[in-house]
Symmetry: C2
Subunit: 400 residues, 2 copies
C-alpha cells in the first residue's frame, strides 16, 4: 500500500512497530479475498443480516432531530444517551450506572485505551492460550510481555492461572470467557467462579472481553466474570456493537468502577478526543427505539444453522486424532489437526483448492500449536460452507 | 465523573497517566459551560454554520446506496473513495496520490497514530512555544520530552530551531504553521523556506498540523512546509474535517510518503482497527458532490466579522504593554497581558463577571508566560463578543 516513489528520507520507526510494516495476517486476508476462494478466515458478519433499514432510520432521526449536536464536539466519556442505553443493557447481567460507561470506537479502541491506562513496559499480561490476536497487539505495543495460560474446552484452567500469577506477577489478566475468539469455547458458571476466586485471592485485575456473549445459539446466557462477588470493581468489561449491529459503525464501551474511570477518559481523550457523535447518538437511538434482541434472534437462527452445517461438513474430513471445538455461539470453530500437521503450510494448497482459513499459530502468545486453524462459520450459506469444507477435506486427504 | 461507590480495589495506573485523573482544562471548560458565562475558552465551531442539510443528504445517500458496505468492516488505511477525495483536495497544494493518505478519526487520532509510529520514550520533540496542548499530550504519553522553540509573530524562529536541533537532537519537530493554535499566527512563505532548510539540513522529520489553513480571511493561502523542496518525504501532513465540515464526525487524514505509510496503517489498526466506515463514506460523498470551498467561504465571512469584532472590542481594554496577535484566519486570538499579570489567577474574577477564556500557560512546553490567554472568536455573534470582552475589560481594569 505504500507510495511507488522511493523517498530520499527514512522516517525513524519506534521499536514497538519495528518489523511490523506488513502483518502476515494481512497477506492471508488478501489471499482469502480472491473471488474464487471460499474464505472462512475473517470474522466478518454476513452483511445481508444487517438491520440496514432500522439503522438508516436512526441516522436519519439523529441528523433531523439532533443534527447540530451530532455534528459538534462531544465529551471523551461518551454521549449521555448512549451511556444510558449501554448501562440499561448491561444491567441485565450486572447492575450498571451510566457513569460507569466509557464509550470507545469499537472494542479494539477499548482494548487500546485500557492498555494505555494500565500497562507499563515490561509488565506481564496473562492470556488464554490461544487468545485474540489484536488484543495481544494492543498490549504488546505498550511493552507488555504476553504469557499464555493453559486452557481446555471449558476455557482457562484455574490451577494453571493460579500458578501463572504466582510465577509471573502479571499486571492484569485478559480473558474472553464466552464464545471465545479463536476457539468458540465458553467457560461454565463453575469455572467462572473458580477463576474469579483466583483473581480475587491475588488481587489481579481482569480485562473481560465480551463481544460475542449475546450470540448464544441455545438460549444459555453466561453471566460475566465481572458479576462474580467482588469482581465488578476489579474488571474492565468490554462490550461491542460490532457483532450485534454493525462493525462499520465502530461503537463499543468499557464498564468500570472507581477512579480508573477518570484515567480511561483521559486516555481516550489523548487517543481520539471522542468517538463520532453522529455514530454514538445513532447507536443510542437504535438501542432506545429498535429491538436489538429481536434482531440478534434472527441473526442467531442463521448462525446456528451455519455452525451446524460446518460441524457436519467437517465430520470425517479431519485427520484421525484431530480435535474440533463445539461452540454454543459466537462466530468460530477451532480445529487442531494434530501431531505432524502445520496449518500454515497447508494454506497455500487450500487456497489453490479454493478455500481459506486462519492458521492458528498467530493466536498463541507462545508455544503455538501450529496444527490449529480458525474457521469462521458466519459469512457463508450452508451450501457454500459445505462446498468450502469439502475442498478443505480434499486438501487434507491428499496430505494425509 | 467517576462512580459514587468507593471500590474495594484500586486499578494500577500506568505512569504515563499518573496524576492525570482530572485535567485542569476540563475544570475550566466546566466553568465556561455555565449558561451565564460568555466563553471564549473552547475552539468550538458555531453550530449554526454547519452544512447540516448537505451532510444529512450524504449520510442518507451512503446508507441507501452503500448501506451494507458502510456497516461492514473496512480497511485500516481508510476507504478508497475518501482517500481519493483527500488526495484530490491536497493536490491543490502538494501533488498527492490516494495511496499516500491514511484516514484517522480526527486530527487527534492522527497525532496519536504518528506518535505511536515514531516516538521512543526519552525522545525530544521540538514544538513552538506556545503550541497545541493536546498534541503535546499525545507525544507526552509516549514518553517524549517536549522542548519549546522561541517564536515571534511570524512563527518559529529558524535560528532558534537550528540551535534547538543541535542542542537536543530531537526525534521530530511539530509545527502548526498556519493560523496556529493557540496564537493565530502564520508563517510567511519566506519563513517556511527557512524552516524547511533547517529541517533538511539536519534530516529531522516534521509533523505539520494544518487544521485551520483553509480558514483564511483575506484570500491568502499558505503552501504547507511539506511542499517545500525535499520536504514532502520528511513530513507527516495532518488534515482534519473538524474545522471545515464537522468536529462530531471525527474524520481527518495524514499525508505521508514511503514505508512509514505501512507503519501508520499498522499503528492505526492496533489503536482502533479503522475509522467509522459510515462516516468515511459520508465525508467522501460530501467532498465529491458538495462544494466545501463555497461552504468554507460562508463560514469565513462570519469568522472574519467576529475576529474584527473581538479585535476592536479588545482595543484599549488590555493593560498597557499587552500584546495581541492579529490572525489572518483560523479561530483564535492570543493576548499577553504582560509583566505582573497571571491569566490563570484572573480567571476566577472573569468567570464571576460572566466571561471565560483559556489561560495560556497550558500551551507552553516549558517556561510558560502566565500572562497569556487564548480567546476564540468563532463561537459567538459580534454583539455577544462585544459584551463578553467588555466584561473582561472591566475585570482587567479593576486589577490594573
Amino acid at each position: 500500500m505504500s507510495s511507488a516513489s522511493t523517498p530520499d528520507f527514512a522516517f525513524p520507526v519506534a521499536a514497538r512497530y519495528a518489523g511490523m510494516a506488513s502483518s502476515p495476517l494481512k497477506d492471508i486476508f488478501s489471499l482469502a479475498a480472491r473471488p474464487d476462494v471460499v474464505s472462512f478466515a475473517g470474522g466478518i458478519p454476513d452483511p445481508s443480516l444487517f438491520a440496514l433499514g432500522d439503522i438508516a432510520e436512526c441516522y436519519d432521526w439523529v441528523l433531523r432531530e439532533r443534527g447540530t449536536r451530532a455534528l459538534q464536539y462531544g465529551v471523551s466519556e461518551g454521549e449521555a444517551e448512549l451511556r444510558e442505553q449501554a448501562a440499561r443493557r448491561l444491567s441485565r447481567e450486572l447492575p450498571t450506572d451510566a457513569s460507569q460507561i466509557r464509550v470507545t470506537s469499537g472494542s479494539q479502541e477499548g482494548l487500546f485505551v485500557a492498555a494505555e491506562a494500565l500497562i507499563e513496559p515490561g509488565d506481564v499480561v496473562l492470556v488464554e492460550s490461544p487468545t485474540y490476536l489484536a488484543a495481544v497487539q494492543a498490549f504488546a505495543v505498550h511493552g507488555a510481555r504476553m504469557v499464555g495460560v493453559e486452557t481446555d474446552d471449558g476455557g482457562v484452567l484455574p490451577d494453571a492461572l493460579d500458578a501463572a500469577i504466582r510465577a509471573h506477577h502479571p499486571r492484569l489478566v485478559y480473558l474472553i470467557p464466552t464464545f471465545q475468539n479463536p476457539t468458540g469455547r465458553s467457560m461454565s458458571a463453575q469455572r467462572r467462579a473458580q477463576v474469579a476466586d483466583v483473581l480475587r485471592r491475588h488481587d489481579v485485575p481482569l480485562i473481560e472481553d465480551d463481544p460475542y456473549g449475546e450470540l448464544s445459539f441455545d438460549g444459555e446466557r453466561f453471566a460475566p466474570i465481572a458479576s462474580e462477588p467482588g469482581m465488578s470493581s476489579r474488571t474492565l468489561l468490554m462490550k461491542s456493537m460490532s457483532k450485534l449491529m454493525s462493525p462499520g459503525v465502530r461503537i463499543g464501551w468499557i464498564r468500570a468502577e472507581g477512579p480508573i474511570l477518570d484515567t480511561l477518559a483521559v486516555a481516550k481523550a489523548a487517543i481520539s478526543m471522542q468517538s463520532s457523535v453522529v455514530d454514538q447518538l445513532t447507536v443510542a437511538r437504535y438501542l432506545e427505539t429498535k429491538d436489538l434482541d429481536a434482531h440478534v434472534a434472527t441473526v442467531i437462527e442463521v448462525y446456528r444453522e451455519r455452525r451446524d452445517a460446518m460441524a457436519q461438513a467437517l465430520t470425517g474430513r479431519l485427520p484421525e486424532g484431530a480435535h474440533l471445538t463445539r461452540p454454543q455461539g459466537g462466530m468460530f470453530l477451532w480445529a487442531a489437526l494434530g501431531e505432524g500437521w502445520d496449518a500454515q503450510d497447508l494454506l497455500a494448497d487450500a487456497v489453490s483448492a479454493g478455500v481459506a482459513y486462519l492458521p492458528g499459530w498467530s493466536f498463541f502468545a507462545e508455544d503455538a500449536d501450529r496444527s490449529t486453524m480458525r474457521l469462521s462459520f458466519v459469512t457463508h450459506s450452508p451450501e457454500v460452507i459445505a462446498d468450502g469444507v469439502g475442498r478443505l477435506g480434499e486438501v487434507i486427504a491428499r496430505r494425509g
